[in-house]
């Protein structure tokens, strides 16, 4: 080290400061501080946005969230009573959508990143999936109406809604599942194959268990998106008002996001039901948060078991 520096010192062009040393140090530090400040501000704004939304909902809606609100049916043209059918409906739709989309999405991801030979076909499929992610949800809704409701004859029902929401959340799930598969070290695959395991044994016993925590992240995102979706269920599953709980997959259901939409736009007493709207929104947010927490807890448990 010293020898090299001594040699550099001897070179004539290095007698002068060559711009790689001390000058500009304070400026560089200022730039660094400035950039960090910028990033910090960006993160802060994001956090603040969430806080403001939650605060806003709490301020306007917390008053109407009572035990009765959570456990009763709406009455008096939905200007009074609770939202239990909507809560149940949203839970059914969200979990149902995951039941459809998670296995299908994971299977697609396994095919794409473990089995399929990289090439044109895989690129086209991937492009299709990525584009699917950008399709507006109302288009999914219309597709669901045309395909599941009418063509398949499922009618406006839980089944149609679940399938539509499942399709809608597929791209997210496939994307994160592929990401999770890619993050499984190649050395696991080599070790397994090296012991005389077949490809399928390697995938099912080593790769998938290691990838499941990451895949769950995708399903959390998908679940959140499905649970909060309005346009996709508007024509396929949701009903304006139902006097009873759903009793089968061919029943229509009330759902929280659609309920908010109805109360806020089509009700007879839009202004009067404002607190109910905010209360419903608050419940929806809490429900999504709760489902997320449950999935995060489950993921953490798996990760802990794996270590």
């Amino acid at each position: 080290m010293d020898l090299i520096e001594a040699a550099l010192e001897r070179r004539p062009e290095n007698k002068e400061a060559d711009g790689f040393r001390a000058p500009g140090m304070s400026r560089r530090k200022a730039v660094q501080a400035g950039m960090f400040g910028l990033f910090r501000a960006a993160a802060l704004i994001n956090g603040l946005a969430l806080l403001v939304i939650v605060f806003f909902l709490l301020k306007n809606g917390a008053g109407s969230v009572t035990w009765e609100f959570l456990t009763e049916q709406p009455y008096d043209s939905m200007t009074r009573g609770g939202i239990l059918p909507c809560i149940v409906g949203t839970l059914i739709l969200g979990l149902g959508a995951m039941l459809v989309a998670f296995p299908l999405g994971v299977a697609s991801a396994v095919f794409l990143s473990e089995y399929a030979a990289p090439g044109r076909a895989v690129r086209v499929i991937r492009l299709g999936i990525n584009n699917l992610a950008g399709v507006p949800s109302v288009v999914f809704g219309l597709f669901g109406l045309a395909f599941f409701v009418t063509w398949c004859g499922f009618g406006v029902s839980i089944l149609s809604g679940v399938l539509t929401l499942g399709l809608l959340s597929l791209p997210v799930i496939i994307g994160t599942a592929e990401e999770a598969l890619r993050s499984v070290p190649q050395t696991y695959r080599e070790a397994s194959l090296g012991l005389g395991a077949t490809k399928w044994q390697t995938i099912s016993r080593v790769v998938l268990p290691a990838a499941v925590p990451g895949m769950l992240t995708g399903s959390i995102l998908g679940l959140s998106r499905a649970a909060g979706e309005t346009a996709a269920i508007m024509f396929t599953a949701a009903v304006f008002f139902s006097p009873r709980m759903p009793s089968g997959i061919f029943d229509q259901v009330m759902a929280l996001p659609y309920h908010i939409y109805v109360l806020a736009t089509a009700g007879t007493e839009i202004e009067k039901t404002r607190p109910l709207q905010y209360g419903t929104a608050l419940v929806l947010i809490c429900l999504v948060l709760g489902m997320n927490l449950a999935a995060i807890w489950y993921r953490a448990r798996i990760q802990k078991r794996n270590q």
């Binding site: 080599e190 090296g194 005389g196 044994q201 016993r205």
Partner: protein, 253 residues
């Protein structure tokens, strides 16, 4: 010394798409010997090693020419079952790579995928393998704990036990001690001395001392060619080729 040949490579060429990584390699390996493959980075020694259990198949666009036989049967023959080859030719990798499972399940993995169900028999084989890899005494009380909690050296010996559990005939070791500290390295080397009594061992190493310590024969690779092979003692004391001498005396590499 006329011994039966375990593995015979004859005029083996290996391509990564268009790049010729191995050129006309002819090399024999004998049972109950450890053979060291040495040479500078990129010389093809690891590529050669990974040809033997067809691990290179995982890389798209590779091509093999010539013949590579295990007990006279061509490893790349059309009717060969790759899975069966890999069961007979075990491998230990550069970095310890235990599965994120328990110690027991790591060792039992190869048995399970090969159809082992009987708990009793599994336990016996797991213990046998862990004893062989000199790890039993350190882990016998925590077989149900995660393998990731072991030290690097223990993990590597676990990987060796895992490979031994399926009773392979050949054990390939790809720089098995390069990620380990000197004491763990010494344990692995002692282990190799024991293991070569039962298996055919082929070890890739960057360490000349290690090659000298553990191997009976040494093969020197350079630029995808086998330059020289012979008894380790001969190679290190009277190398026939100048390149070999330059490499083992540390003049390049």
């Amino acid at each position: 010394m006329k011994e039966q040949i375990k593995i015979r490579a004859k005029n083996l060429n290996f391509y990564y798409t268009d790049f010729l990584a191995l050129s006309e390699v002819s090399l024999d390996f004998f049972p109950h010997q450890a053979t060291a493959l040495i040479g500078p980075s990129g010389c093809g020694k690891s590529t050669f090693l990974r040809c033997i259990n067809r691990m290179n198949d995982l890389i798209p666009g590779v091509r093999v020419e010539g013949s590579l036989c295990l007990d006279g049967q061509d490893i790349y023959g059309p009717k060969v079952d790759v899975v069966e080859i890999r069961r007979r030719v075990g491998m230990v990798f550069q970095k310890p790579n235990p599965f994120p499972k328990t110690i027991f399940e790591n060792v039992a993995y190869g048995l399970r995928v090969n159809g082992g169900r009987d708990r009793e028999a599994l336990s016996r084989r797991v213990e046998e393998s862990l004893r062989l890899s000199a790890l039993w005494d350190e882990v016998k009380d925590r077989l149900d704990q995660s393998a990731l909690g072991l030290s690097g050296g223990q993990q590597q010996r676990l990987c060796i036990a895992r490979a031994l559990a399926v009773r392979p005939e050949v054990l390939l070791m790809d720089e098995p001690a390069s990620a380990l500290d000197p004491i763990a390295t010494q344990k692995i080397e002692e282990l190799i001395h024991e293991l070569k009594k039962r298996f055919t061992i082929i070890i890739v190493t960057h360490s000349m001392q290690q090659a000298a310590r553990v191997s009976d024969r040494t093969a020197f690779f350079y630029m995808g060619r086998l330059i020289e092979v012979g008894n380790t003692e001969t190679i290190f004391t009277y190398p026939r080729h100048k390149q070999t001498e330059d490499y083992i005396t540390g003049r390049f590499g």
